[in-house]
Amino acid sequence: MPSAALTGLAVLVRRIGGGTLAAITTVGFATRFFLAVARHSPAAVRRLQLTLREIYFAGVLSLIIILVSGIFVGMVLALQGYEVLNRYGADESLGILVALSLVRELGPVVAGLLFASRAGSAVTAEIGLMKATEQLSAMEMMAVDPMARVVAPRFWGGMIAMPLLAGLFSMLGIFGAYLVGVKLIGIDAGAFWGNMRAAVDFRYDVLNGIIKSVVFGFAVSMIAVFEGYTSQPTAEGVSSATTRTVVASSLTILALDFVLTVFMFRGLGV
């Protein structure tokens, strides 16, 4: 029936159009939100006490999960790496394998994923609940801009905490690998550390790792404050905003990691 097909087509076009418009609106709103956060960022510096408090909540309170995960990832990496390297008689390169994996990839990525689950979700839930309980409206009515008082310090708190956590993750990972590789398996400590120092380049490896963790910190913090600020002011709304933060942050981290890796390490044939 041509009329039924036409109706079906119209519904399809309408859905695509509606979806596209909604997506463009969200992107536009997110851009304006980002600009507003940028505009209020000097306030986060002026209100240093608030930003330090957020660094504490996002950073210090995430230490346990980051440090414990780091040490276990390092230990597993050492066990698996040794098993493969030993086949080729290259077990003394274990230090290189572990350090490069952690500094370039696993440190920023895994720390970013853990950070999104631990701190990002907490920030979204906190801002969402503040909105649901009218605390943000109350602030506005008291002539205090929530973007400056609530959003900007939380964004910068996450932004600053994330690279530090990624650095700690890598350090603890290397320490875990040292425990397994040197203390447990018996690889020579001099070879483990010496090869690592010789092979890890500061600019190529460490700096690129830091850049990745800064980018991931930006992405997770921005997603977390955006989702919290735009959540529906209901229990269900806050719950789904928190879930969206974790899912969107994780996917963004993985996608950005691929893009950054292509640009950073293509000269090395990686």
């Binding site: 609940l129 503040m130 309980t133 009218e134 605390q135 409206s137 109350a138 602030m139 506005e140 009515m141 008291m142 002539a143 205090v144 801009d145 008082r149």
Partner: protein, 280 residues
């Protein structure tokens, strides 16, 4: 009782005795009409109640006065200034002269009671910390909660939280305080305390109060003037005595708490007979 539709009042700009004036204000969310042609005058120093059922548009009026939303048409004048025309800076300057008590207090849960009340002082003034402390304790004393200064909002009862929110609303000695359902969910004693505080603080501090509520009994005891809002329109208005004596059907139903009347008990539906015997 004055006529509900009378709007022929001079502009608030020219009237120093008027704190708030709404003139023929309409407001809608997308296509849903919330207010249709509201006009009201709130004189300085008075306690004025806006009453009506849930969803009648009462809170929207407070949001318009506070500049959180803009009207589709009409004028909203507060303290001689047209609120919708103010830029953000001027709006924030005006809000520093307005206190607001939200429905469930909206206290900042990451701060103590003391910090909640000191919040606006610390944000907007350079007062030394000793003076802030004294002022906060004075405000808390006024609502009878000086002893609760260092408790967290989670440790307060509903009535105490509402009193703390009241102390926070008057922290900067505002010219106008707006109360959004201040009596909702309170026990009878807390209800009486909040009612008395609204009246006493209004008179003692020389402020103007706008109370949005559906609690007739408590409001009639403390307010000077009442506007009844239904379906986005003012359907009745008058002093407490006039409202008590009113024969208007809507007012009677509201004041006497009748289940049926101008506001029907049944949600609109097709006829009962038709519904039950349609398939017979």
């Amino acid at each position: 009782m004055p006529d509900a539709s009378s709007t022929a009042a001079p502009a608030a700009h020219d009237r120093p005795d008027v704190a708030v004036e709404l003139e023929n204000v309409t407001f809608s969310y997308d296509v849903r009409k919330i207010l249709s042609g509201i006009s009201m005058t709130i004189p300085k120093g008075k306690v004025v109640a806006i009453m009506g059922l849930s969803g009648s548009g009462k809170t929207t009026i407070l949001r318009l006065i506070g500049g959180q939303i803009k009207p589709r048409s009409g004028r909203v004048i507060v303290g001689g200034q047209s609120v919708p025309d103010l830029d953000r800076e001027a709006l924030f300057a005006l809000r520093r002269q307005i206190g607001m008590l939200f429905q469930f207090g909206a206290l900042f849960t990451d701060m103590t009671v003391f910090e909640n009340i000191a919040f606006a002082m610390r944000e907007h003034t350079d007062l030394p910390e000793e003076l802030v402390r004294d002022l906060v304790l004075m405000k808390l004393h006024a609502v009878g909660l000086r002893g609760a200064a260092y408790l967290r909002p989670s440790e307060l009862s509903g009535g105490m939280a509402r009193r703390v929110a009241l102390a926070r609303a008057i922290a900067l000695d505002p010219m106008l305080v707006m109360y959004d359902e201040p009596f909702a969910g309170l026990d009878p004693i807390s209800l009486g305390i909040i009612g008395q505080l609204i009246r006493r603080l209004n008179d003692a501090l020389g402020i103007t109060s706008v109370v949005v509520t559906h609690d007739v009994y408590e409001s009639l005891k403390i307010v000077d003037y009442i506007y009844f809002v239904s379906d986005g329109r003012i359907v009745a208005q008058g002093t407490a005595q006039e409202i008590r004596a009113s024969r208007e059907a809507y007012v009677r139903q509201f004041v006497d708490g009748e289940a049926d009347g101008p506001v029907p008990f049944q949600y609109p539906a097709r006829s009962y007979r038709q519904e039950l015997f349609a398939d017979a």
